[in-house]
């Protein structure tokens, strides 16, 4: 519970730290309402809408309402999908307001000792240290390969965790060994005509749990004519920290990443995770208050591109024949890739250029699947409700393959496939993996011919 003193302090912090001009920029027209998943899912509850949440933030700042658990819950229940931003004619930067407000509330949150320890362990002890993530991934690989995971499932070990986490455990990809990760080269030469020098933003989870997807990404870039470097000393992007009110930690990580990518000349910095890229592209905003970093952040941001965007730019899909066995494919947008990076046409162009693929656009493909970073862990009920509605729409497309462009979305869609009883009939894949599959299928097919 918040004490009176907490409440006063929170209000003071809102007055000091919230961008009041940005709060005023919301003119309350309500154009955001139909785009907000939590507004829709709660049967049109204003306090779970962007307009309502901004009004609550402004209400605290103006002293019209006192901060309380209810208001904190309204902000917690936000997916942070930012679907409200592209539809806002006034251009309100909702994501920034949300992060600032959450950061203040987080500071004053009374958390139980275990939660505090876990947060500290995860946010400060794990993610800022790529070697520790690698070690953890190695452990996971051991758990999976040793047969322990089967034993664990049999004796109901996972039942001790929330339903969403237990479901997660089943759908985690096969983890690479620590050795595999550490022995991978840092430079990959282009194939064919050289078109660009690029650096891969490898990402914390992408470069461990989703190691194969990173390798697929590298291969696609090589085929597209890029020299690919994976700069050393890069870290997790800091998005999880930013979205959870740990802004200071994410600033530190941003600086280290900017530095890491200054080591060498690169035309582009490539990501394959919508969630990371959306956070990376706002490094300039994150570090706006630090003059010595502002320009460097701008430099970094201006070179950022998603894998599908650069492939389309470099005409990859016309230069390589892509083919798959006949199947229906649909695409689930990564909210952040779409709403913040504004990359949504390119993945569709690439998928539609694959021979054998019948592309079926899903109704509401642009709305959140419920993954939303760690949302499915902290707000499991709402996440599952959203996922169930999403799976109903996936089923309507009759797709055998659901494609995504972000690890969180990928895991969520895999969980959705399991949960809706579609295992064996449907699969979820990252677009980079599917494109490599299409390259290989095409090559084999041509050999046979």
């Amino acid at each position: 519970m918040m004490t009176e003193k907490d409440k006063r302090q929170i209000q003071k912090d809102f007055q000091k730290n919230m961008d009041y001009d940005e709060l005023l920029n919301c003119m309350r027209c309500g154009f955001c309402l139909p785009s907000c998943p939590t507004y829709i899912e709660t049967g049109h509850k204003e306090k779970y809408s962007p307009r309502g949440r901004i009004a609550l933030m402004k209400g605290i700042t103006d002293g019209v309402v006192e901060p309380d658990e209810d208001i904190a819950h309204s902000l917690d229940l936000c997916l942070g999908c930012r679907a409200c931003e592209p539809v806002c004619p006034s251009g309100v930067k909702y994501g920034h307001l949300l992060e600032d407000a959450r950061s203040i509330l987080q500071k004053h949150k009374k958390q139980s000792v275990p939660v505090k320890l876990i947060r500290k362990g995860v946010f400060n002890g794990l993610f800022p240290h790529q070697n520790r993530i690698e070690a953890a991934t190695g452990l996971l690989g051991f758990y999976q390969r040793s047969g322990l995971s089967k034993v664990g499932r049999k004796i109901g070990f996972m039942n001790l965790f929330p339903e969403s986490m237990a479901a997660m455990e089943k759908i985690l990809p096969e983890a690479p060994t620590k050795k595999e990760i550490r022995e991978r080269p840092r430079f990959f030469p282009h194939e064919g005509e050289k078109k660009a020098d690029v650096a891969l933003f490898a990402g914390c989870l992408m470069d461990t749990l989703f190691f194969k997807t990173n390798n697929a990404t590298i291969r696609l870039l090589q085929k597209a004519g890029c020299d690919v470097t994976i700069p050393e000393h890069q870290l997790c992007c800091g998005a999880l920290h930013g979205h959870n009110g740990e802004l200071e930690q994410s600033k530190k990580m941003a600086k280290q990443n900017i530095e890491a990518f200054e080591a060498g000349h690169f035309d582009y910095i490539i990501t394959n995770a919508g969630g990371c890229s959306a956070f990376l592209i706002e490094y300039d905003h994150l570090l706006a208050g630090e003059p010595e970093w502002a320009d460097r952040a701008k430099q970094f941001v201006s070179r950022l591109k998603d894998i599908s965007a650069i492939l389309v730019d470099l005409d990859f899909h016309h230069q390589h024949h892509l083919q798959l066995s006949p199947q229906t494919v649909t695409y689930q947008d990564s909210c952040h890739l779409r709403n913040v990076m504004h990359t949504y046409k390119e993945p569709r162009i690439l998928l539609q250029s694959i021979e054998g693929v019948r592309y079926e656009e899903m109704e509401g493909a642009n709305t959140c699947c419920g993954s939303a970073g760690d949302y499915n862990i902290v707000q499991p009920e709402m996440a599952m409700q959203i996922l169930d509605h999403k799976m109903a729409k996936v089923e309507k497309t009759e797709a055998q393959t659901i494609v995504t462009a972000n690890p969180g979305c990928l895991l969520e869609m895999k969980a959705g496939v399991e949960r809706s009883g579609n295992k064996g009939k449907m699969r979820a894949v990252h677009i980079a993996d599917l494109l490599v599959e299409a390259l290989e299928y095409s090559e084999e097919n041509q050999l046979v011919r």
Binding site: C29, V64, V65, D70, P89, S90
Partner: protein
């Protein structure tokens, strides 16, 4: 009636409301009260005591009866996109949400009607009927968000008003809950019906001050088979305005005839990125629909008129998609203008369409006189302009000048034979000026109607009729 007065002294309780709508549908938490303390009108905010969401007409009626007996103000609210503070609970009390009354009850293809509950989103109605080859023309800019209940209460217009009229013209029957707890039905699926006073028309546009509409039967028409969109570009604002009058005088009635000035164009383009011309002073967005041959002929003729009135260019939208983009962009105009300054105050003074050019000129002069920035867009074809003042509510000196400027705009509109508001309603923002339009006797007639239906004054108090403490310029004069 001493008994009634005695009851009025009892304060309404959450338990009483819960007994009608169910415990889960009433809320008095501070977060809930805050998020229903406003609508889309700048500078109006006031916290209600309770927020209630009844699930059927009977619950609405019972809730009104309870409010009536306890003297509790009640404000019905759809999506809160209102632009005259009509959904702002200025006197506390109960905000009545229509969100649970969100069903389409019947699509009658024999009588060409659709019957809906008030919480249905306007666009859902359009989409539903268009799938059947039918058409519900009223299309307020907020149609993706607004509820039909809100449209009915405000008698909303839209982009197609010129040819097809406004919400009022498509209402055939209503069910209304009255403050005394009665449910009445007005009208019917009838083209002809003169049985008594036209209560349907009375409730449409009554801004929630007489009762709560709990069901409506709307008239549908066949969907036009084709449509075309053109943009006419001008380097002279008044030339654009003169074109509007000339088109109408030439007996051309397009569906849409929108005026957008340069400021607005720039703000909208900044949001929509669809390649709007931002290097001209004003454009007209013109749409015609109907059988293809007639659309072609009309569009050709209209383009000729625009050119003869100094349009520097006339462009045809290449595809249906481009036409839709243009209409969507226009609908975002007001919110897009909010990019430019912290506070955007818009009005919708309306003049006979022959007077569009003098009105546009007057707005420019008034803005200069009071040194305020006014951007203008609007449904020029039906004389309904939206001069929008870009300001900052924190700048008190400027806000006073804004008030003076708007007072003068209202005065000018009335002088030209116009009105204070074409489609947004009187609400609180224009209440002080109502007498300018209707005269004392006219306002007295309206007050009489209000008194007859809502003697305790619980229905949306503070709206339509000015209260003593109003700050607007009308009182200074």
């Amino acid at each position: 009636m001493p008994l009634l007065r005695l009851k009025k002294k009892q304060k309404i309780t959450e338990e009483q409301i819960a007994a009608i709508v169910g415990k889960e549908n009433v809320d008095s938490s501070s977060s809930e009260r805050l998020v229903y303390s406003y609508d889309a009108t700048p500078n109006y905010q006031s916290l209600p005591d309770f927020v209630a969401a009844p699930g059927n007409a009977e619950e609405v009626a019972a809730l009104l009866k309870l409010c009536n007996e306890t003297g509790t103000p009640v404000y019905s609210r759809g999506s809160g996109t209102n632009l005259c503070a009509d959904t702002c609970p200025v006197h506390g009390g109960v905000v009545l949400l229509t969100k649970r009354l969100n069903r389409i009850l019947e699509l009658d293809k024999e009588n060409l009607t659709i019957t809906v509950q008030p919480g249905v989103i306007t666009k859902e109605i359009s989409d539903t009927v268009e799938k059947e080859g039918l058409f519900y023309p009223p299309d307020p800019s907020s149609m993706k968000i607004s509820t039909i209940g809100g449209n009915l209460s405000e008698n909303s217009g839209g982009l197609r008003g010129l040819k097809y009229g406004v919400t009022r013209d498509y209402v055939m029957a209503l069910q209304v809950a009255l403050p005394d707890g009665e449910l009445i039905r007005t009208g019917g699926k009838l083209t002809k019906d003169v049985a008594g006073y036209d209560l349907t028309r009375l409730f449409v546009g009554s801004e929630g001050t007489l009762g709560v509409i709990t069901e409506a039967t709307l008239k549908l028409i066949p969907k036009p088979e084709s449509q075309k969109t053109i943009l006419a570009l001008y380097q002279d604002i008044e030339a654009a305005a003169r074109s509007v009058s000339a088109i109408i005088a030439d007996k051309m009635i397009p569906v849409t005839l929108e005026f957008i000035d340069q400021d607005t164009l720039k703000a909208v383009e900044d949001f929509a990125h669809i390649g709007l011309p931002t290097d001209v002073q004003a454009i007209l967005l013109i749409v015609q629909d109907g059988p293809k041959e007639i659309v072609d002929r009309d569009i050709h003729r209209i383009a000729e008129i625009c050119r003869s009135k100094q349009a520097v260019d006339v462009r045809l939208a290449a595809s249906e998609q481009e036409a839709e983009q243009l209409a969507t962009a226009r609908r975002s105009a007001l919110s897009a203008l909010a990019r430019l300054k912290p506070t955007t105050i818009l009005e919708d003074a309306t003049v006979p369409r022959s007077e569009i050019a003098p009105m546009v000129r007057a707005i420019t002069e008034i803005a200069r006189k009071y040194n305020v920035r006014i951007s203008t867009f609007g449904h020029a074809g039906d004389g309904n302009l939206h001069p929008t003042c870009l300001t900052d509510a924190r700048d008190h000196d400027e806000m006073q000048r804004v008030e003076k400027a708007f007072a003068e705009i209202f005065e000018k509109a009335l002088e030209l034979g116009g009105t204070l508001t074409g489609e947004h309603g009187i609400g609180m923002t224009k209440a002080p000026y109502l007498e300018w339009k209707l005269g004392k006797a006219g306002v007295a007639v309206m007050r009489g109607i209000k008194q007859a239906l809502d003697p305790s004054g619980i229905m949306n108090p503070g709206k339509v009729f000015a209260e003593a403490a109003s700050e607007r310029e009308a009182n200074v004069k």
